[in-house]
């Protein structure tokens, strides 16, 4: 893999002094300070980070690398020792020359205790195990243990740690404290207060990350209850992240509630398509039905969050009106066709189109590979091309004003005009004057963008590929059913130039096929150019031809993508 100067590497941080500590007898060197999860300012490295660096798991509930440290769950208690110092401020040595370690008489929480040089951390002593067992016993005192009806079951930290570190039975004979269940916190969240273990992750997230101080704890002692500010719904655009953050099943998503048990869900790495940020997500699907998006960690795009707008924007994938048949229309009569017979017809019709009489409109919601193949087709016809800009209000965290997931890709492939959408008027004018006789539309309803039904009726040939039926597909001579992003593979380039790939989670409906597949079928007959067979090959070929993507390969994209200059 060749590296190219154009691929941006994150700026190398200023060298930080390293500290050597020992975790369970193994030495590890960690920086003295690490960037804070929320502010990014350097703060002293903690014991839990040192343990994480050497892949020693310390169980924890309230600690989250992206949230301020609260230190209230006590689950990460560990034992530690520091080098003994003599009166001359020099370490006292053992007879064998090693530093003498003074073991601390009390344990410390690993999430909030900074490390010091020579420190030794013990995460697996009998005392530590006994403390974990004790903490879990306390946490379970008032827990309702309603795992059979709890949506978190299967991805619940309380379940996992109880199995790993807890006791098999409870010694608590008294009646449990009951708290409100099914509390409606806002339009997207339902709270079960009984299950809450009061880690305050949700409170810290909405206060310190989102900046909407909406949640808090009321009442005292075992009556502690999480609640939203009275009379104010918890409805900011990031509220559903608290459901992911909640280590137990206290906060549940109204959208996903009682839909499917999580252990049935197949997890596929994908991308959110609702705006130009391109948040990394995991698609949860079962038997070709998609159930949910969950954010996936990517520090250079979305940290570990995603917005509710994007998270809930997936229902269209299972819209019963999806285009699932190839349709060919001659005059007024539309007939259902199939790929085998429609493609040669379409190729023949396209082949007879004269250069200069064709226009191509490709959506910035298509993958970069699709846009690249469309651009190849357009170049053959010297066609006027464009994409449709789509904007909406942006917010302070992730939601971008550009609501197309692949605007940058449309620009890279040369399919979008500069500025995007400025050629749409020219195309409308070309059709009106009779100069443009063939229009190829992918993924857009052009009747809503200045090319009305009256203009479309004048065309000799209108080819439309889409996922859902619209006014353009109703008029098209060839309707080619395409795939939603969860039904195919491809890449998007986000607004900052982050090239990312997404994988296929479910099978396409009916006759629908990935756009790349049928474009690849069409291109050799129409243009004489044959695309590489595999998607990987196509991406690599594309990266070689597009200056901005020089040196990027499919393999190099990995799970988190590559940043290029735009």
């Amino acid at each position: 893999m060749s590296t190219n100067a154009k691929i941006e590497t994150p700026p190398t941080p200023a060298p930080v002094e390293k500290i050597k500590v020992k975790v369970d007898g193994r030495e590890v060197e960690v920086p003295k300070t690490m960037p804070d999860g929320v502010t990014g300012k350097p703060v002293p490295t903690t014991m839990i980070q040192a343990c994480h660096a050497i892949k020693v798991e310390v169980p924890h509930y309230c600690y989250h690398p992206r949230l301020p440290v609260a230190g209230n769950c006590r689950m990460c208690l560990v034992e530690f020792g520091t080098p003994a110092m003599g009166p001359d401020r020099k370490p006292i040595l053992n007879p064998d020359g090693t530093a003498k370690i003074l073991k601390s008489p009390r344990p410390a929480i690993a999430c909030a205790t900074p490390i010091s040089p020579g420190m030794e951390i013990y995460t697996n002593t009998p005392n530590v195990r006994f403390m974990r067992e004790g903490i879990l016993e306390f946490l379970l005192i008032n827990h309702p243990l309603d795992c059979p009806i709890c949506d978190q079951a299967g991805e619940c930290k309380l379940q996992e740690y109880s199995v790993d570190h807890g006791q098999t039975s409870s010694r608590f004979a008294e009646i449990k404290v009951h708290k409100p269940k099914r509390v409606d916190l806002g339009p997207r969240i339902i709270l079960d207060d009984e299950r809450c273990i009061l880690c305050t992750r949700c409170i810290r997230f909405t206060r310190d990350v989102v900046g909407d101080d909406a949640l808090g704890i009321v009442n005292r002692g075992s009556y502690n209850t999480i609640t939203a500010y009275p009379g104010k719904p918890f409805d900011n655009n990031y509220s559903l992240n608290t459901v992911d953050l909640c280590p137990v099943g206290a906060l549940t998503s109204k959208d996903f509630r009682f839909q499917m048990r999580v252990w049935f869900l197949k997890e596929t790495k994908s991308l959110c398509t609702s705006c130009g940020t391109g948040c990394n997500v995991v698609v949860g699907s079962r038997e070709d039905r998609m159930f949910r998006y969950k954010p996936r960690e990517n520090d250079s795009v979305n940290a570990t969050w995603m917005c509710d707008h994007g998270r809930l924007n997936y229902r269209w994938i299972h819209n019963p009106e999806r285009l699932v048949q190839v349709t060919v229309r001659n005059g007024a009569a539309a007939t259902v066709s199939d790929w085998k017979s429609a493609m040669p017809q379409l190729a023949a019709r396209l082949k007879s189109a004269a250069p200069g009489t064709v226009a191509v409109i490709g959506s910035a919601r298509q993958t970069t590979e699709e846009l690249f193949l469309l651009a190849k087709l357009a170049r053959h016809f010297q066609a006027v091309t464009d994409s449709v800009p789509r904007t909406g209000p942006a917010d302070h965290l992730l939601l971008n004003a550009d609501r197309n997931p692949n605007s940058t890709g449309a620009v890279f492939t040369g399919l979008a005009a500069t500025p995007m959408g400025s050629n749409l008027g020219k195309i409308a004018e070309g059709i009106r004057s009779g100069r443009i006789k063939t229009l190829i539309v992918f993924g857009e309803d052009v009747t809503r963008h200045g090319i009305g039904a009256d203009l479309l009726a004048r065309l000799d040939l209108l080819v439309a590929s889409d996922i859902l039926p619209n006014a353009t597909t109703k008029l098209a001579h060839f309707v080619l059913p395409g795939c939603a992003h969860v039904e195919k593979r491809g890449t998007f380039v986000n607004v900052k130039g982050h090239v990312q790939k997404f994988m296929k989670a479910i099978e396409p409906k009916g006759d629908a096929r990935a756009e790349v597949e049928f474009l690849k079928e069409l291109l050799p007959t129409v243009t004489g150019w044959t695309a590489p067979r595999s998607l990987e090959g196509l991406f690599n070929q594309m990266a070689g031809e597009i200056p901005a993507l020089q040196g990027v390969t499919w393999a190099a994209l990995g799970d988190t993508g590559v940043r290029v200059q735009i």
Binding site: P144, C147, P148, I149, A153, I175, K176, V177, H178, K179, P180, K181, R182, K254, D255, F256, R257, F258, Q259, M260, R261, W263, F264
Partner: protein, 175 residues
């Protein structure tokens, strides 16, 4: 390995001693206790612990005990069980349990009577009963739905009644 086949001697070739031996056994059985059961006029008494067809049960309050946790669906080796969870609204008739199956199907053409569903059930809602004679005129008939499973399962007299206890405790605490 070569097995030498011994040639039959004269007496053996006659077959008469063998036929007589056969008759001896037959006649002996005339005077033995009869073991053949006159099925279907006479029905077999199923022993304790027999694993027959799995059915769903209701509790004393008439609530379907199944809470749609889908563990049986998960554990079922031939994938005979298919549960439709209730969705975001839950099941209103389930009360404080919130959840129950919207649909519960057991494909008896697939079921292997292993009893893992009963063993895994955290709610004691599914039991392998003593039905062994399962038949139907179509494949559809042998896919038991929730209604049929509940009708055949009847009421299970639960000693613990954890959900009722929870509701009572919450009521006592003023919730």
């Amino acid at each position: 390995m070569i097995v030498n086949r011994k040639k039959l001697n004269f007496l053996e070739r006659l077959y008469v001693p063998a036929v007589i031996g056969g008759f001896k056994i037959t006649i002996r059985h005339f005077f033995k206790k009869k073991v053949t059961m006159q099925y279907p006029e006479e029905k077999w008494v199923v022993p304790e612990g027999y694993r027959g067809a799995p059915y769903l049960v209701k509790d004393q309050q008439g609530r379907t005990k199944c809470v749609s946790c889908q563990l049986c669906e998960f554990v079922c080796p031939p994938k005979a069980i298919q549960i439709t969870p209730p969705g975001p609204g839950g099941l209103p008739e389930a009360g404080n349990v919130e959840k129950g199956p919207r649909e519960f199907e057991i494909n008896m053409l697939r079921c292997i009577f292993c009893g893992l569903c009963q063993e895994v059930c955290p709610e004691e809602a599914i039991f392998l009963m003593k039905d062994y004679s399962l038949n139907g005129k179509s494949r559809e008939e042998l896919i038991h739905n929730k209604e049929k499973l509940l009708a055949m399962g009847g009421v299970h007299n639960d000693k613990i009644q954890k959900w009722k206890t929870k509701a009572d405790e919450a009521r006592q605490q003023g919730l």
